[in-house]
Symmetry: none
Subunit: 248 residues, 2 copies
DNA sequence: GGGATTCGTGACACTCAGTGCAGCGCGAGC
DNA sequence: GCTCGCGCTGCACTGAGTGTCACGAATCCC
């Protein structure tokens, strides 16, 4: 997937032009110092068109969250009861990370913007809240009948979002260097270990005694679970890890 | 009510008049159907005075959150290290409940309002976010030095807020009947039982990030579970492993 | 006690986000 | 060719939020 080129049917070039013009100006002179008229002037379109593509000025800063949210709800709706629920919502959260990781430079710029501008921060909160609600609703459905179903669902959803954001933000603060996936996996692993029951129904795919390796299927959420004794020498663990990953 | 007389030191009767007029109109004809001019006309003050007391139209709906937030930060700053941190933030969360419980009728009306109006919901999110940040900052300070200090702090703060809100909202949905304190205690008890160590003088010995491990004694859970993405770079996995083991 | 100061308030003017509406170009179909 | 539909534009309007100035009352200083 080379990003741009080709694309015989880039349906809205005007939308992209608006995003590009907006970010150019936002970074140049700041968000609040830039009016919608400035943006449309630079993009070369009419002012009314801006609001046809984005319901508000804030929306242009998060042009793909709506799609990502739809992806997440679809992902949760599709996956039935085959997987352990906590693991499922963790995987759903990884979809958000993937969107951020697709454009590291863009994500970092946006992060700096949202940190400085209170209005954008508030907007981002409402976006995050919708993700959290999607996760919570899924968990509520899976937890119906349990003693504290909705409470557990809400708390776990909040924990997943907080862990995801903790790792994501630390990656964004480091200017998008390194692998955000590992950090998010680590953070979500913490939550999963806290709330997830080890196995249920059909067990999670990759389990093993000393090291696990489901080899096949390059699914993006393909993870490895390594179990080791705490007092094992580090070099031994690493060696085992290499074997499990099939590298080295 | 002979209004005038009495009240030797009701410092801002005008502020209260604005809140009263605003809620009267909001409930009568809706939030967005009410303009600031309508409010100031009913309150009998100039339009400019409204924005002197409330920075925005949304703020008039949450007239006491600023004070409550100040109370919470003071509470957290005052209480030193005598108490167990998780219990401390749970107690801090109860301050918010107390504020809601002081005026049940008002709280219920406001809840119905914020549920219907997206703009108010977004504003409330930003308020809740500030509470959560206060709790998280406190926990971060208490967790400095621990393996995943900031991660744990953020996750626990989010869990506390989610549990609190779960109970609070269920109370608000029931029109403020019953005792909200009991429900919130139950919800916070769940979080406290999940994250809080039963008692502590000196900090807990060794806990690992993605791994559970009481350090000493050949307890059967004295193992490390590492969850990682299959395609993560090896050096990153090793780094994570070191963190989890508490070495490095 | 009288004049200067300060502070809270009101009134006017202005910017800018967001919306409704009417017109205009442009490709598709009968 | 004419029309229908669609997307874009321009224009006018509402309403939130801000800067500024004028007025009145309480205060302070002499």
């Amino acid at each position: 997937m080379s990003s741009s080129s080709a694309a015989p049917a880039a349906k809205p070039p005007i939308r992209d032009a608006l995003v590009a013009a907006a970010f150019r100006l936002f970074l140049e002179r700041g968000y609040e110092q830039t009016t919608v008229d400035d943006i449309v002037a630079l993009a070369g379109v009419g002012r009314r068109s801006f609001f046809r593509y984005f319901p508000s000025k804030e929306d242009v800063v998060f042009p793909d969250h709506e799609r990502c949210l739809a992806d997440m709800t679809a992902f949760l709706a599709a996956g039935g009861a085959e997987h352990e629920p906590v693991r499922r919502v963790c995987d759903a959260a990884r979809l958000v990370l993937r969107m951020y990781a697709e454009n590291p430079a863009f994500s970092v710029q946006r992060y700096r913007l949202t940190r400085r501008v209170p209005g954008l921060r508030a907007y981002e909160l409402s976006v995050v809240w919708r993700y959290e609600r999607a996760l919570a609703e899924y968990l509520r459905a899976r937890f119906t009948g349990r003693p504290d179903g909705t409470l557990r669902a809400d708390v776990i959803a909040a924990a997943v979002v907080a862990a995801h954001n903790n790792a994501l933000r630390s990656w964004l603060r480091s200017d998008g260097k390194g692998d955000p996936g590992a950090a998010v996996d680590h953070a979500l692993g913490y939550v999963q270990q806290t709330y997830g029951r080890p196995a249920e129904g059909p067990p999670a795919p990759a389990r093993a005694g000393s090291a696990a390796a489901g080899a096949q299927a390059g699914r993006p959420d393909d993870v490895v679970v390594l179990v080791s004794r705490r007092d094992a020498p580090l070099w031994r663990v690493v060696q085992e890890l290499e074997t499990a990953l099939g590298r080295g």
